[in-house]
Symmetry: none
Subunit: 239 residues, 2 copies
DNA sequence: CGGGATTTGTCAGGGTTTCGTCAACTCGCA
DNA sequence: TGCGAGTTGACGAAACCCTGACAAATCCCG
């Protein structure tokens, strides 16, 4: 749908992001250092740049500054290892649209990417879509299974029409499962998506949160019908 | 709905304004220096001009003066970096309709734009539309939730029919939450919309203002029913 | 079919994060 | 100088998350 340039030297992270953004339907390129990133941005004119700050050859700040000086208006989402407030301020000052500190969950990044693209999309097309804040790209506004309704914009869940309180991690986990539409998700993938790339969390963590979800959402938590265990692999969501 | 010309050399700012005004349903063009701005104003005949004062080639004062000399009565909203009273007076002398100093919140600008357009529309047609104060472009004139009524035009709020005094920031924050119609708004987005583009404001600022809103608007501020916290993300308004 | 090995479910304690609150401070303005 | 609005950091309370130990379930294979 949109063209996204990722400027990131960590190969694992770069590939992971590319994969997931491509699954979302975007065209993606990856540059491994600041110089290459700048060149690709100039030549390829992406709709969004995901920019790591710590980069070989030319750091993210310089890339961003140069881009802006040359008049590129492309929205930029900054990734930073340190959570330094100074970095954040500096980044936003230089004209970045958003800022994310590692470790971050994949879902959080995807959400921000979609947000930035939605905001920026209208600049190009003269007749923007109806101002009713619609015209979403990928995800629907709500999901439902059984008597459960998940409202993504509100970050709320109801069951039998009554609100269910989910903790942040629980909600993110639920979304990660729903997103896969029935496919099995390994614990590793869940940890990556929900907990974040650099997270060293292990052991019973995922299971505990799944249990909590079942307790709150399943009619009979002991015999789940929607959040299913796939032995030796992970979990799977079913309508 | 209306044609708006933005004359602003800062690309990031111009881009952001264009996006948001287009979301509000307006047709927008951006000129990056005074000369280009003047040309576009002559040729395109916008319904409103948003005019930066500090501009390359031809500063805002000169643009405005020339426009007026040539007989253009288009409403002009001046943006200025410095808050110099002299500038303001001079701008209004030259026939500007309104004046805003950076950094300003997005909402404040949007509100003034709508105000100017409404006023301008009436001036154009001698027999103004029915005095019922209608014919708006996007937002409704008032919002209500619980026993609270928000009058956008007057920037006033009542609760149980009795007026509630809100500070400017508090009112803007409330509007920003209401505008999203129930969706979660992150602290970052709130800072962007209410506090302004280049604002590096951080920490407890948003929370403090939310607390104040709850104190003034909620029946039981400790158990809010309308201005809700969404942990790890931000806040959400509910009818 | 049964025993052992592996995997998952459950639970509660404590460390951590996040939010609400408050008071001090700055700033612009009269 | 006094005032009100806005901002900030400190602090405490609450929510949340992780972990490790143990129980239950499942699988493997004899």
């Amino acid at each position: 749908m949109s063209r996204i340039l990722i400027v990131e030297d960590n190969r694992t992270l770069g590939y992971g992001l590319r994969n997931n953004l491509e699954i979302e339907g975007h065209e993606v390129e990856v540059a491994r250092d600041g110089k290459a990133g700048l060149d690709r941005a100039r030549a390829w004119r992406p709709d969004l740049v995901v920019l790591d700050l710590m980069l070989p050859k030319l750091d993210g700040f310089q890339v961003l500054k140069t881009l802006r000086q040359e008049g590129h208006e492309v929205p930029v989402l900054i990734l930073s290892a340190r959570g330094e407030e100074a970095d954040k301020v500096r980044g936003l000052r230089l004209g970045a649209e958003d800022y994310l500190t590692k470790p971050f969950g994949l879902l959080e990044l995807l959400a921000r990417v979609e947000g930035l693209l939605r905001r920026g999309a209208r600049a190009a097309s003269k007749s923007g879509p109806a101002p009713g804040e619609n015209g979403r790209s990928g995800a629907p506004e709500t999901d439902r299974f059984g008597s459960v309704v998940v409202d993504h914009a509100r970050r709320t869940v109801t069951r039998h029409g009554r609100p269910v309180e989910l903790a942040p991690r629980e909600f993110d986990l639920l979304v990660a499962l729903i997103r896969r539409r029935g496919a099995v998700v390994s614990r590793t993938d869940l940890l990556r998506e929900v907990w974040g790339y650099a997270s060293g969390a292990v052991s019973r963590t995922v299971d505990t949160h799944v249990a909590e979800l079942r307790r709150k959402l399943e009619e009979d938590p002991a015999a789940p019908r929607h959040i299913l265990t796939v032995r030796k692999v992970g979990y799977r969501h079913q309508d």
